[in-house]
Symmetry: none
Subunit: 213 residues, 4 copies
């Protein structure tokens, strides 16, 4: 007998995961209630504890799941033999597109943003699987551009590149209040990518020149 709302065996867990990602991203960990998650997932109130143990573990699972969902290869820009400059441009374009494009399942990056400003312990896996690889790709590019410079300098340059882009994500509400220009800017991803690329390119080279003999 098929009761309405009764899903296929084992489907509940997946639905829970999907909904949890959205809700956690939307409201943050604390403001999210497992009641709402269960309701939106059309599941029983006890389902979370049944499938995941408790709220925290649901969060961890949702977070982890949000990573495996990302189909896009994170490192395609590195293993080519294009010039480093082009690869930098490609890197920023991809990064910003992913960060700002409204078409994407935004809850993924929002989840990340939340996790960054209030880490719950689920961050580590994410860094290992998502963030660090990107940093490494970027550092590879920078190394090629800068030549023989200490790793510390590479690190600073990488942070400078990423920081410029992340700013448009994190400071979004502030930027909009600072000037209407920024409200408009976030819609022009390509323009931003171009700006960041040029700005960073010059920056990297200027830094590097000090370490050349």
């Amino acid at each position: 007998m098929d009761l309405p709302g009764k899903a296929i065996h084992g489907e509940t867990r997946k639905r829970l995961l999907d909904v949890a990602g959205e809700v956690f991203a939307e409201k943050g960990y604390d403001r999210t209630t497992i009641r709402e998650v269960c309701r939106r997932a059309n599941a029983n109130i006890a389902a979370v504890n049944y499938h995941f143990g408790d709220k925290r573990k649901l969060y961890a699972a949702a977070f982890d799941y949000s990573l495996t969902c990302v189909d896009e290869k994170p490192t395609p820009a590195s293993d080519t033999d294009e010039p480093a400059e082009d690869r930098l441009r490609e890197f920023t374009r991809r990064f910003l597109r992913r960060l700002l494009d409204p078409g994407r399942p935004s809850w993924h990056s929002r989840l990340l943003a939340r996790e960054m400003s209030e880490p719950t312990g689920a961050l580590e896996a994410m860094v290992r699987r998502e963030i660090r690889p990107r940093y490494e790709v970027l550092q590879g590019i920078i190394r090629e551009l800068a030549g023989e410079v200490p790793p510390r300098v590479i690190a600073k340059c990488a942070a400078s590149v990423i920081g410029q882009m992340m700013h448009y994500h994190f400071a979004r509400p502030v930027l909009k209040l600072v000037s209407p220009v920024y409200g408009d800017l976030e819609k022009h991803v390509e323009e931003l990518a171009d700006h960041v690329t040029r700005f960073s390119l010059a920056g990297i080279l200027a830094i590097a020149v000090r370490y050349r003999k």
Copy 2:
């Protein structure tokens, strides 16, 4: 002899404000309980209601108070006739010092960070009073460096400069996980300021050159 729980008339409100700032910054809005604030402020549980009305208003007041507490003048770098390059250096140094120096009452900037990632409505005043003036100072410096370029370009450069620095604040937990280098870096404010200045200087000039005839 000062018995706990019985302070000088009118002191409680101030104590509440101080403690609230710390706790809100430390735990975020939701995880903060007015019970804890009151306990740490050595005040009665009803004191918040009496002095501020409710939790949200206490938050707003603490936030606002955290702004008025900042004694440092926000715009000393602009009204000199030093070369723009030096003023940029001075700007980044001040900014980073304020952002990262552990000696400062950290809850001020943490409060800001929280407000940025989950705005509660108290953000607007802060932008008007704190953020925007700084952006304007910075944009003044950039304009001087870049010469005749569209305001939109100035805006992008300003975001690039600020973004580099804010990244060390916002992404702190992530950076530490990415590489131990970053954990060390945040202790060397002067070094970072120097890096950001050089990197940005080159970036700004490179961007500007495209708009020169």
Copy 3:
């Protein structure tokens, strides 16, 4: 062996309803705490929220439940072909018995009394289901006694009959203070019913005679 606090599945709701009726009737809405209701119902403090949503809805449910509990048929006096006079006597007897008999679950009528003096919105259903039918029965009897008189006159007579009886309920504390006689009277339901019947019969006929040609 029945451990307290762990009753048969689904029993709690009913127990809550029963106790709530009593307590609300005894203390009024405001003075009633859900804590006490839960304690007396041997239920957890959160049970009210779980089963009814909140205090107000518990009240509404208890009120409604108190209506469905009344097993006695409200209209047996009307569908006979006894003389109208006898039916009036039967009506008042039933009414007063129900109003004053200490053997009955008093919280039912006390709940009604409370609702009358400070309506909470639950009154409408009660009027529709309990009060109006009785008024209509009574008006039927009066119409038969009075003959062709305007509906407005019927209405006034009905109010006069009911009012006499309700007075013993509502003004009970006052009446006892006015004279000890009243303290005694409320125990003699049959005597009161007889009095009200005779008094009203004469009243109705006296009123009616003015409208006869």
Copy 4:
């Protein structure tokens, strides 16, 4: 120096009393907060406790004060040598006028109504000073109409007369729901007084006749 809102010495107490009567009548004892009373009386939050001791005593004082405020003589209908029938008419007219006339300071009777349905202990004085005298006047009239009948019978008749009238006060919300006719009726005090007089007159005489030899 005269601060605005600063009243003449000793005025506060009186203002408090006035406001308290209104608010208690409007909201009932529990729903009334000392804060609101003080605010509306333009007095300090501690004024109630200062002048009256506590909330309950304020209520008692306001209740008592509401009695002394009634300028109208309660017993003018008795000391004439008009025929008893006319005096009954006059009694009901006064009673209903006072009960229903919207022009009067309604909080007086509302306070009484509240006190009747949930006595707080302030009722006794009121009965002694206000209610009992009226009952005695009415019983005098009835005695004159009924002749030699037992006091108990007089008492029942008095309750029948008063009950008819009080019903329009107490059951007002119910009556309006039962039929729109009642909503209209309460505006026609004279008509109601006439009805009650005729109805009661006949009732009293019919009761009395059984005790005549």
